[in-house]
Amino acid sequence: MRSLNQLSGIVEAEFKVLRREAGIFLLIMSMPFMFSLLSYGVGIALTGGQAPPTLWFYQLIGFTVLVMAQVMSSSSAWYFRRGMMTGRLEYLLASPVSPLVAVFSSALANMAFNIAYFILVASIGVALVFGAQYLLNVLAVILFLGLALIPVVGFNLIVGVVTIIFREPEPVSNVINSIISSVSGFTYPLVLLPRFLQVVGTVLPYSHIVNTARDILSGAFQPASIYPFPFMVGYLILGVLVYRLGEVNYARKRGVHW
């Protein structure tokens, strides 16, 4: 019960912070449109006007999930960096609040922010390409993303621990973001990648998330496509384990001061 109270309190505080940054929300919302339209423009040029709008939609949803992935991993990295710089993390480790609950709550707030962002972008994309009658599919995606993004939180816990060790969040998130972005099939099918990168992409959770989200939105969803998701819970377990190992063996022994 105490953990639940802590969780809801931190989520509420995180939402207050997010509310103050409405400009960032607008910028993040514009990014998938900007990137996908830029790419579509190049596509039109390369194909002599034959680029299909469905491919624009494919990339729009891909860029949206890509931005979500980047926001989640960068936020985790910056959460730890800010905590170290301001000394908050040191107090957090000394307080009766479980750091894991704090980090998890922050990630949950981020997840809710990302789902809201996805709904807005996807609704515009669906209405433009498939028509307003497909807008109900967006509701199904909310449920799907709410469940599918939980394993990603585990992934972000690993990012957090790595940030504590390297102290600089940008290099850490830059490497992780570059790998995730290129192998997860956000803007092109995995088959265009070399074989070993296809395997990496399949093992990571994002290719399954983005493909299933696209299928749900376009009405092509098959129940069989959710079979990898139970395995993805492994990321959550792995994330918690790595985080606990890092906390006990590194953070608590060496301190988390800047």
Binding site: L27, V42, G43, L46, G49, E168, S181, T187, L193
Partner: protein
Amino acid sequence: MRGKEGFIGRAMSELERGLTTYSRYRVWLLTDLISWPFWTLFFFLSFLVYSPTLLSSQYHMNAFTWCFFVFVFVSSFMWSSTSLATSAQEGILEYVLLTGSSIRQHLLGRMVISFLDLAVGGSVLLLISALGFGTRLSIASPLLMALALIQAAAFFYLFSSILASLLVSLRSPWVVINVAQFLVPFTSGAIPIEVLPPEIQQAIIYSPFFYIVHPIIASATGVYYLPPKTIFLIGGLLTLSLYFLSRVLENLLLKRALRLGRFTFF
């Protein structure tokens, strides 16, 4: 110290500052080496998914490699403009300007990092394109390419200093740069002009950035949209205009700072 010696001394100090900062964050170099190959792959396939057959066209692969090289180039320079806001927030800028230095000179320190980023990112990009995608990289006019790169470095150095002056009071200048780093190159000639529809070709020449970005791509592909002399002449005039504009803006910013007690245009 005033005069030529003072100018050189301050410029050298800034260069030293940049090199020291870069060498202190060696992890950046390591992560750049890991991440650039992946970003290169991402950029190539995101564009070429529309026409995967072009992956086997040597002409297009060469042209698009230089297109992404221009992106790395512009991006590296533009990010330096956020450093002025950081200097102002940390209270360094006031002391730097008291030494008789200028904003352009102060940015030199950060430009060194941009050059190093470009050297690493650009080289990795070319390498991955050649080894990973089998692109036979070529430059149709090496001399014009050298000229185009020098002109672009001068132009984007001055452009970044103008941008830095305009963004100095923003808390999150990176938001603007994040968008501008894509818009500037890709709407102004980084995408080989010959693959664009005629209407866009005619519109794109009205962008001032076109005369800076296009020569780099055109020197590599050999396809100039306008005669090279005309392009370089306009590009040179634009760079000169930026120099004067940056001086005017800097003076305005300093006057406002003396009046208001803080660095801001807004």
